[in-house]
Symmetry: C2
Subunit: 351 residues, 2 copies
Amino acid sequence: MVSIKDVARVAGVSDKTVSRVVNGEPNVTADTIEKVQLAIADLGYIPNLAARSIRSNRTNIIGIITDFISTTPYSGDIVRGVQDWAGANGRTVLLANTDGDPTRETNVWRTFKAHRIDGVLYVAMYHRVVVPAAGEVSIPTVLVNSHPEDGYVYPSIEPDDFGGSYALTEHLIALGHRRIGYIRLNPLLLGANQRLDAFLTAAQAGGIAESDLVIRLGMEGPVGRETNYVYREALDMLSMPDRPTALVCGNDEMALQAYLAALSLGLRVPDDITIVGFDDFRTVSLGLKPELTTVALPYYDLGWQGANMLDQLVHGKGSETERRILKCLVVARQSSARRGDATPRQAIGSF
Amino acid sequence: MVSIKDVARVAGVSDKTVSRVVNGEPNVTADTIEKVQLAIADLGYIPNLAARSIRSNRTNIIGIITDFISTTPYSGDIVRGVQDWAGANGRTVLLANTDGDPTRETNVWRTFKAHRIDGVLYVAMYHRVVVPAAGEVSIPTVLVNSHPEDGYVYPSIEPDDFGGSYALTEHLIALGHRRIGYIRLNPLLLGANQRLDAFLTAAQAGGIAESDLVIRLGMEGPVGRETNYVYREALDMLSMPDRPTALVCGNDEMALQAYLAALSLGLRVPDDITIVGFDDFRTVSLGLKPELTTVALPYYDLGWQGANMLDQLVHGKGSETERRILKCLVVARQSSARRGDATPRQAIGSF
DNA sequence: TTCAGCAATGTCGACGTCGTCAATTGAAAT
DNA sequence: ATTTCAATTGACGACGTCGACATTGCTGAA
């Protein structure tokens, strides 16, 4: 592989001068610059970042650690956000996943340290409480889509599940719905409780009696291998004589099953039943017909901004205790309508 | 950061001896080993891979380049396969994506070269023809889920779309279906034509008249921003007086829309209409009720085996021209049934 | 006893880059 | 003409690691 010395020889200057040109340092003659650049182009020289890093103690590499989230479709957007930030800021992204296995996690941290990466974005499933096994010598770390267990301190960036769910519920109430069904996420996930709490709070604030809320558990069991009751519960709920006029689902995949249940009962969305989801997972939310009203989780931004927070931290400018919460916007599509009203409304989302 | 020399000082040996212990070289006293390991543990020493790599000219890093595939849910499994291979073989994965933008692609290759990575896995959307901009000095490269344009030579690993589609069609014929609908993928995707060709070939081999096949275009337009006709076409096809008894969809997301169309017409799956997809994209194929009969694309294995091929190449053992084709198995679930028969059958897939 | 032979350990330099500091040049100031 | 100073360039070493080779010390054979 061609090195700075090869370039120096060809250009007839010292290696240090080549270094100056490569790094855009001042006090180099235009003439010299040209000679050097010519040689660089000729030889196809590209600086060796490893060599650079052993001198500078900075690698410009950031690592992403994912737990089982990597098996979900969500993770992709977060990672893409990080990548795009990295690309725009001259960093490179090292990727590793642990499948939730502590042994593998330890290895990943070791590997990252061995690479002397500048920092780590720890991306966890949904919104779970998490403690990175950073070990003795620690790398600057930001938790993405999760936050640390009590007693541990890490900066984090998380979606505002509560706010999103609250706004979604208000949306339904504004549409005149008074009898509302709710299918819960796996309670193991932090987001699950926040979403439900917000739903209940908003319903109460909207003057809806608890007796008019029908709440069912959609899935339970270990994350990633849960038992799924959604279809059954949706069927059941929608078969009630006084069935809800609107059905809130813990996420979009649950909403899919709710659609299927509704349709197979001969109900039409949104004419007979309003169905809404959560996440705005496009494959589902745009794949459903009519398209799904849901809440957009800012996955891409979690990644991008998380990377940005990490960068601040690496440069000593960030706060060790920052907890940044990103807004979740309601994306109103055609699956929600005024109670007893089939007319599609204007979208209020950002798309 | 603690270096090999710090360890040497604490252990009271030379740095070279520490190096020997770290790399498991022979001819070191058990006593010495212990002293050194103690010092290592004390100081939390972790070898600096950058320094190692400038001596050895090997980084044990492999890069993944994705084009817009990273916006699809599929890419995740491929990347996971690569990661798992890397984790199991002491490699690290550098990740970059181009969004299909040639400028970004050029930058990505530059960055990868600057890191002196050992090789590149070029992962392309679906199954598209692709030319990596490797540039003058080339890094060993394997194309994953895609293959090179005519005139270019790169090893590649691809799914057997044709075989999978053929088997799926045979499956339907074996179930007694004689009048079959087909909704095509975006023709821009290589997989699209292979799947359609296989369908036609298998239908002919099964003695089905062309007049009994109803073929519709499901989407067209630039990859990633296509116009979607699936729902409309499915509605239309299923409203025909002599409607097909089985409907083959270009992929699982299309099958989702076919379900919705069927259900909204009051048809039941699979009693009234058999629907099958392609990809086995779990969010959809398992999220649909009844669960979807489809063809499993071996995304994870594409990643794992692709990484393996690349490794061979890096070590000079691989072939520059290998084109490995991975089988796609039919996963029979409950959405396909004998014509006019509602009884669910035994799954023949591997799950 | 002497020495070959081998195991155990150390010294030194090189990898590619860049920071430090010195050397050289030319022009402006005296 | 001499001095001063800034601009330009180069020589050298250090970063962390390990390969090549040297040194030390011990064993066993002659």
